[in-house]
Symmetry: C2
């Protein structure tokens, strides 16, 4: 499998398109009328160099000349052409955010956090959804690189994808991983899932639950590793053995939550509590619990992560591990900006966002009849 770097222009209006498209007009590609620095210079009675010096805040410009140039700039409504600036090496002030699907509230909140941080500095944010397809991840990173993105935020599907690692290295711009980690010296931002899941598990154990199911996704991702570590740590501290059959970490999808919950609740020794770690999992888990005729928290206790409107408003309200995706996106963007501007020394940095345990009404001590069967 080779990476195709050839240039495609499927929609060139002047050339033959892929469809029987006979464009009504065969327009000249030339941008015809636009005011240039030369026009401004003429208007102000100076040279183009001076115009450039003025707008770039060069210290060597007379106040009087600056005023004249600024007046001309305003009068003509001129602004430097970004393409021409690009040719001179001026950064595009654009960063990309690559993730699976913006419709996931987790990502839309991250994006907003990133966008807020970036727009303060005059940066644009390009969103790039991969639908979880690794080849799309690679293609989008390459596209953004070619389009001169100054850096990228990355939440990939598979942390060990070799093609991805190579692509990231080839792009000479900084990256910041979000809720993921690569085997490269790259900054990363993520929530403290270890502690979050530890708290949730410890709480359930303190209620005397012995069989606690953990449903999550991304078995090979940092997030899942941290959650499993927190889950295991709590069990170890409580002296309770972990039953591997209660750990389901293959997908964040709603359907997965539904299916695995059905399976779990159908087990002969079924779990008395479930930790649903994944924003989209919860509705699937809830539906399966409902379908099995179970009542929360009487028949099964439930803890969700992340906290959502659904968890808060449903009856009973669901106890949750909360963290702030907006803050994660914001911190990631700020770190990326620091890298872009070389404000910090080399060396990968890990930024951790705290988790918070929100106690609600979805947990109770396990029902003895169920717990002691077999």
């Amino acid at each position: 499998m080779h990476i195709d770097t050839t240039v495609k222009k499927p929609e060139s209006p002047s050339a033959a398109g892929p469809a029987p498209e006979k464009a009504p007009t065969a327009p000249r590609r030339r941008r015809s009328k636009s005011v240039t620095a030369n026009d401004v210079a003429q208007e102000a009675g100076v040279s183009v160099g001076t115009v450039s010096r003025v707008v770039n805040h060069a210290p060597t410009v007379t106040h009087e000349v600056r005023e004249r140039v600024m007046a001309a700039v305003k009068k003509l409504g001129w602004a430097p052409d970004v393409s021409a600036q690009g040719m001179r090496g001026v950064p595009a002030r654009m960063v990309g955010f690559v993730f699976s699907d913006i419709r996931n509230p987790l990502y839309s909140h991250m994006v907003k956090g990133a966008e807020d941080a970036l727009s303060e500095k005059g940066y644009m944010l390009v969103v790039a959804s991969t639908d979880g397809r690794p080849e799309r991840e690679v293609a989008l990173i390459q596209l953004l690189t070619r389009r001169r993105a100054d850096g990228m935020l990355l939440t990939v599907q598979e942390e060990t994808n070799a093609a991805l690692l190579q692509t990231v290295q080839l792009a000479k711009v900084p990256f910041v991983m979000v809720e993921r980690e690569l085997a490269l010296p790259i900054d990363s931002v993520g929530a403290d899932h270890l502690n979050g899941t530890y708290q949730a598990t410890a709480y359930l154990l303190s209620l005397r639950h012995q069989r606690i199911a953990l449903i999550s996704g991304g078995r090979n991702n940092r997030v899942a590793r941290d959650r499993l570590a927190g889950y295991t740590k709590a069990h170890t501290e409580a002296g309770v053995a972990v039953d591997p059959s209660l750990v389901r970490m293959d997908s964040f999808a709603t359907e997965y939550g539904f299916r695995e919950t059905q399976i779990l609740l159908g087990m002969p020794q079924r779990p008395t509590a479930i930790i649903s770690s994944g924003q989209r999992l919860l509705s699937g888990v809830l539906e399966a619990i409902r379908m099995k005729g179970c009542e929360i928290p009487r028949d099964v206790s439930l803890i969700a992560s992340n906290d959502t409107e659904l968890a808060r408003l449903i009856t009973p309200a669901i106890t949750a591990v909360r963290y702030d995706p907006y803050a994660m996106g914001r911190e990631a963007a700020l770190q990326l900006l620091r890298r872009i501007n070389h404000e910090i020394p080399e060396g990968a940095i890990r930024i951790e966002v705290p988790t918070e345990f929100i106690l609600r009404d979805s947990c109770a001590a396990p029902c003895v009849k169920e717990g002691s069967r077999a």
Copy 2:
């Protein structure tokens, strides 16, 4: 290993244009030596012109030469520099989507629809959140224009904002309005809220509700106008008078839904049904209903728009007017692409996305004791 010829302050090049903007110092950068069309030409033993013709699919190139050039392209990993292309008038293949806040699922779904349509054609999507501030709308449109966006999708706060109208006209690129309409000859895409609200209202009237509240936002926007029209039409057809005090159309915010519902349920002749038209309103409305000690549908019937996971999963499940924001975003992007490529004749086009009435358990005939009081 890093190219670090820059040794000034944390850089921040002008990019400001005419507007006074803080820019610490001028840049001193040089893009690292990159492979150019000239290198490819040399490698292939042809001239730069031929290289350009090959990658631009010019018909006048020998197959043999094309092969040789393509091989050189692949070998050197060359791709045309976008800035240089930009200077020659090649479009940037980038569009902007301006809206209030991506965290609103309505917009994140629209964005995904738009992105899917755009990425198929090799376009990038820049997201631009305004937080509902009109001056941000103007600033972002100007920014995107300067950055050579080929077109923009727009969901503005105030359809009558004069500064906005002027900015849109000044930008010489095509726009497509989403769920909004301007007094300009511009394409628009929106859901059929008139019919959706008509169906919801007619259904409630058929259950013999006489006092139906309508909560929504954007009093001066197309969406609100359409909803009010549908609401009124159903009342007229049923011969039921509309009580203006039951129509609350000032905001889409959750808090507004909460507050207005409290007020409505506190009225001496309180409504027996509520139509909550706005994705974020629902949770506020529900919370107020719960706080007032009312039960759905016994004490108050409820219909939501748009349909959401919350509406579907809460007990009782909420009857809803559903439409597809993803489809709206996609249609808007496709229409914008048609405009960008001049594939359709001039003249504004309105694209309507259908609504669907989802019957669930949140509506019943009004309680007589409540309805007949006073």
